[in-house]
Amino acid sequence: MHRFANPTRFLKFARPATWVCLSLGLLLLVPGIYGGLFITPPDYLQGDSARILYVHVPAAWLGMAGWSGLAAASIAQIVWRHPLAFVAAQATAPVGAVFAALCLATGSIWGRPTWGTWWEWDGRLTSMLILFFLYLAYIALADADRERGGEGRIAAIFGIAGTAILPVIHYSVLWWNTLHQGQSISFVRGESSIAEELFWPLPLTAGGFTLLFAAAVLMFMRAELARGRVEARLRRQAEGQR
């Protein structure tokens, strides 16, 4: 757990990891996107619009996984006072927010030709929108706390409490009647109701976007650590001049 507590040691890992994530992510994404757009057959009912699946599902998964990561970092921050935990949580928030927004936007674009509406206040859509707002609230809380010189304790508690939305999003299509269809892929049962011919690009795009997500988080973390170094050095210089 504390192996990466030392920022120098973390950077030794993060510098190459950033480039590995970026290049490997692009490597997976290119065939995934190409396959999803041009190779897979259209869906029997939805036709070509079903191709939006290959960007919508990864965005949804990363929007939710992002908050799980943020919450895990927040727990490490509160319980173990891990020095990198707040940095990690803060770096994850904007990335998760972007993917949650992309999920909502692509879903809306998908809804128009299939359901016949851009937006409906059903359980799935509404709970995903709430997750997006939670990200914005976390970013505002963390920024405000940092400006006051705090350690982001309140933001961390908010990050942990916010996990309550994740099961709501996941089970919304089971608990309530929703316009959104039920889940196609069950990791627990290892089943998928997506035919093989249409399924194969999805792991590629999901893996690709996940690696790019990780690259963005690593870059934001490195930015934050460098900013800390700059501030510390400037403070020392100012003190030395006095």
């Binding site: 057959p41 259209p42 869906d43 029997y44 009912l45 939805q46 079903a50 699946l53 727990i75 509160i78 319980v79 173990w80 030709p113 299939t114 359901w115 016949g116 509406t117 409906e120 206040w121 059903d122 359980g123 508690i157 942990i160 409490a161 996990t163 309550a164 099961p167 709501v168 608990w175 309530w176 009647n177 929703t178 316009l179 269809q181 039920g182 889940q183 196609s184 109701s193 997506i194 035919a195 011919e197 249409l198 399924f199």
Partner: protein
């Protein structure tokens, strides 16, 4: 004696459990109100008042779609389980509206038990597969080879 680290861990776990419980209770209270639509079964069971704006969701029964001579008025039967409600609608149906597929109608229940829809949305299920024609063709090609 617990170390402060363990104390904080216990505290966080307790907070998570309390949070989960509170969320479950809230959702339980929300249960029916969070439903996006009612089903034909709800209407047959008499749970729905006539004239109140609401959404009705169900499957479009095979062979029940009836296009009226004016070209824009349709009627069809929405089913859930064994329960059936007749829906009438004037307007353009979404592309994905099919017999044997799902739909959500916005409107109100008439006094005669028919549902008068102002808007119709298509609802699809979680299955994705190639069109049957292509599948048959692909099978034919492999047979030919």
């Amino acid at each position: 004696m617990m170390r402060p680290k363990q104390q904080r861990l216990v505290l966080v776990v307790a907070a998570l459990v309390a949070l989960g419980g509170a969320a479950l209770l809230a959702l339980w209270g929300l249960e029916s109100r969070a439903a996006y639509f009612v089903t034909p079964s709800d209407i047959v069971a008499g749970k729905v008042e006539a004239g109140v704006p609401l959404r009705l969701g169900g499957m479009v029964r095979e062979g029940s779609l009836d296009r009226k001579p004016d070209g824009v008025t349709v009627s069809f039967e929405a089913v859930s389980g064994a329960d059936v409600v007749e829906v009438s609608y004037t307007g353009i149906l979404p592309d994905l509206f099919r017999e044997g597929s799902g739909m959500v109608a916005e409107g109100r229940l008439g006094a005669d038990g028919r549902f008068l829809a102002d808007t119709i949305l298509a609802k699809h299920d979680e299955r994705y597969m190639p069109p049957p024609l292509e599948k048959a063709q692909a099978a034919g090609e492999t047979l030919e080879r």
